[in-house]
Symmetry: D2
Subunit: 140 residues, 4 copies
């Protein structure tokens, strides 16, 4: 597994919580998406908005997302989101995201993304292409 880890500390906002006073589930997927962009920025030293152009790709669309909600997280809780690539395959990769509160695991999540370009024979389509080995190498 690549060694590069992206840690981000946040405090849970009022607007992220539902009537139980805990984070509404869709909000976690916003946090994970942002962490993946930051993880790539950290690895490749390229700003998120320049990622596509720098590597000649369309982007890294998500094709699978999953989360296990182990403990509720409340308004005002200080959380840490730890993200890393779990595995690179040919043209896709898995990212894991773990949120802890006070050192205890609260959400155990992950996603799969694909390194994609616009199909040169059909600009209406996108297609998966091989992730460059030097990109993978940057994740340690």
């Amino acid at each position: 597994m690549p060694s590069l880890i992206l840690n981000r500390q946040l405090t849970v906002e009022w607007g992220q919580c539902d009537p139980t006073g805990t984070v509404f589930n869709s909000r976690f997927f916003e946090l994970f998406d942002a962490n993946t962009w930051l993880l790539f920025q950290s690895a490749l030293t390229v700003k998120p908005q320049d990622l596509a152009e720098t590597f000649g790709i369309l982007g890294i669309p998500i094709v699978d997302a999953r989360a296990e909600f182990v403990k509720p997280i409340r308004f005002g809780d200080d959380i840490e989101i730890t993200s890393r690539v779990r595995e690179f395959r040919g043209s896709s990769f898995d990212v894991e995201h773990r949120i802890s509160v006070g050192g205890e695991l609260a959400v155990d999540a992950g996603e799969t993304r694909v390194w994609t370009e616009i199909d040169k024979n059909n600009p209406q389509k996108i297609r998966a292409i091989a992730i460059p080995s030097d990109v993978i190498a940057r994740f340690g």
Copy 2:
């Protein structure tokens, strides 16, 4: 004031509410945005995703938004959102949005948008252009 009115009935969702059990303020602006698109669809009989191409514009970006929250709206409340253009000016227009619950006004809101195109002399810029009179006429 143009006569065309767009009414939409909705039931407040769990994920739209904050820890008080009432709608979080930013969620209202999502509802208003959707209503403006629907109002234009109703007036111009063009699907939202085809609006820009049909009229040769970039879009109708919002330049001002405002809302008065008269009464809290709760999870499960049946609401009605009533939207209409209040005034067309040269290249901008005001839309008013009112949300009622059980016939009582709960949110009194409005926004200003601009009919814009990409500046032909500078594709990095957008500029306001005159709203066509036949567009205005379609709002009654």
Copy 3:
């Protein structure tokens, strides 16, 4: 598998889409949450805001969510979200959510929730309890 199915037709809103013009992944989980509430309303003929009190529970918190994004869904697309309980176990249950566009599967998702009450011995805690058989029966 219980036979009750909840279908909901929606048109994708501008504010649900990201810079690619397709639905941002977290938005799907908002749609699924709303569908689960509607599915329970349909089965139990109780309004979502009355569910907890009617059944003497705290709620049905989500403990696991997952989604496979098969095809991108674009701004203005007419979608159908089909939801059903896949399985009831002692105190938990799985709900599946499928989104189709033009009859083709676009998102294949699911979640696990738990029938919970406040722990009478410790009001700070919640605990899973058995789902009443007459509740299960209502799902067909």
Copy 4:
């Protein structure tokens, strides 16, 4: 005008942007809400989740919000949100929020909130009460 200012630096996330690649308008109101909580935390040295209990209030619900969108803000832009109380009145107060990008004003916004408690004669109702002078004093 009270002198206390709350500055927050952020980088615009992918999920906050719409198909134009700029921040969707409702997202700004999420940012403002969070800034108001942080401003009160800074002034009163009390965590947001402890504000109500510490001061024996129900909360500080928003009754009016407004924003002028001066310049579009794009994915990846580094922004600064500057918030301060513009005026305290008897039981209500105005907060102004300004977002700048590269030192230029991009959003000029504000909101009105009310210091409220639960009506002791009618727990179903909330009512505005006088903001304590020592609370006001903490804002400089």
